[in-house]
């Protein structure tokens, strides 16, 4: 019997209550899953990813929830010592979201070619009827041969997916534009 997928609805502005309750101001012992993925002993280069989300009017989206999914430093998903999943709320005042994680390794594309290191992101918020999915690539990696970036094609579109490394520390800045001239490329996976 074939069923239809349950249709999506917006996460709304109060998504924190069910997903990151402490951010909503609820007293909770829950800490997982959070935005700190790198632990003692986690293999790989420690990095920080941070960014802002802008709407089509240029205003900051301060009620978004961002989830990431990535491989470990060896390019493996779901290894025992590194979950690869993180969840961060945009700050209610500044709009900033951040993750402390490790730089992922290369991973195989469906046809066996290798994909450049990347992190997949999902964005949930009021006004977003079905979560938006995108990828973050790293400015200091060889991205030109990446099969997915080749699908994206035009350099100005590819540029929306490249996080810039800070010159002085292992920090990557990745701003997301939901709409407009600098609109981020979003994927249907």
């Amino acid at each position: 019997m074939a069923l239809k997928e349950t249709p999506s609805q917006t996460a709304g502005p109060f998504v924190h209550i069910g997903t990151v309750p402490a951010i909503a101001g609820l007293k909770t012992k829950r800490t997982e899953p959070g935005n700190i993925l790198a632990r003692d002993g986690t293999l790989g280069e420690r990095i920080r990813i941070e960014g802002l989300i802008y709407d089509g009017a240029g205003d900051l989206v301060k009620d978004a929830l961002v989830e990431i999914w990535q491989a470990n430093a060896n390019g493996q998903f779901g290894s025992n010592d590194f979950s690869g999943f993180g969840r961060a709320a945009a700050d209610f005042e500044t709009g900033l979201f951040f993750f402390e994680t490790v730089k992922p390794g290369k991973t195989p594309y469906r046809d066996g070619r290798m994909q450049a290191p990347h992190v997949t992101l999902s964005i949930f918020a009021r006004g977003i009827n079905i979560h938006l999915q995108t990828r973050l690539y790293f400015s200091d990696e060889a991205n030109a041969a990446d099969p997915v970036l080749q699908l994206v094609g035009a350099p100005d579109l590819v540029a929306t997916l490249i996080a810039r490394r800070d010159p002085s520390r292992p920090l990557y800045r990745f701003n997301i534009h939901l709409q407009g001239d600098r609109e981020t490329v979003f994927f249907d996976l």
């Binding site: 997928e5 609805q9 917006t10 209550i17 101001g25 690869g84």
Partner: protein, 237 residues
């Protein structure tokens, strides 16, 4: 090495589109360019696994999980059902997180400015993991409708938000359930971002008298369907 089985493509005409609509919050938050279709590789076919997450016994009891002086106020209800894939196979080990307003339509959240009263015995968040048959159950109170600004004042029908993790990143889903018979459903601009009436009906939890708890709780039934695999090609031929 054979690649893992792919999932069926998402039917984007069945889901609400990310386009501007009568739901005004979409105006500046909906991308204009078409989505880029990406083949599913290992990163899309794997996903975070929560089936072994240690949960607190009260995590799926919203009447008591944030209570301090007594049970939460409101109509006591059970919401239960199964998590299935598009082939109607059960999805065990799925993490379901929920959040909702209290009986008066007020969220326990600093950003909710609605005048209705808080219930200090009600937090409004919970979670559960589906069992081997894909079954799940919450006990909670029926949330109240509430107003929000949208071309003046619009009203949300009573609803519970759900976030679901299946077994693969591509099965990720966030949605809302509504309650059978609520006259606000058809008037809601957020519900009506979905075009197909059958799709809307699939978000309406049905009164389930067989599962009520005598002299305690009414029950509502709500099944969740996650993306399923494409038919596997005959191997080894």
């Amino acid at each position: 090495m054979s690649a893992p089985a792919e999932f069926l493509p998402r039917d984007r005409a069945w889901h609400p589109a990310a386009v501007p609509s009568a739901y005004r919050s979409t105006t500046y938050r909906s991308p204009r360019r078409p989505l880029v279709i990406v083949p599913q590789s290992i990163g899309e076919l794997s996903g975070p696994v929560f089936g072994d997450t240690p949960l607190d016994p009260l995590d799926n009891d919203l009447i008591r999980n944030y209570a301090t002086t007594g049970d939460a106020i409101g109509e006591r209800i059970i919401v239960h059902g199964r998590v299935l894939d598009e082939s109607a196979r059960p999805v065990p080990g799925a993490l379901i997180e929920i959040w909702q307003a209290n009986a008066g339509g007020k969220y326990r959240h600093g950003n909710d400015k609605y005048m209705a009263a808080l219930d200090l015995n009600f937090g409004g968040g919970g979670r559960v993991i589906s069992d081997g048959d894909g079954a799940y159950s919450f006990r909670t109170i029926r949330p109240g409708p509430y107003p929000f600004p949208n071309d003046g004042c619009a009203w949300r029908p009573a609803h519970i938000h759900l976030s679901i993790f299946g077994h693969a990143f591509v099965q990720r889903l966030v949605t809302q359930l509504y309650f059978e018979g609520d006259p606000l459903i058809q008037r809601c601009v957020i519900v009506n971002t979905i075009k197909d009436p059958k799709a809307i009906d699939s978000l309406v939890a049905k009164l389930d008298m067989e599962s009520m708890q005598a002299f305690d709780c009414l029950a509502y039934r709500f099944d969740i369907v996650l993306r399923g695999h494409k038919a596997t090609p005959f191997a080894g031929s």
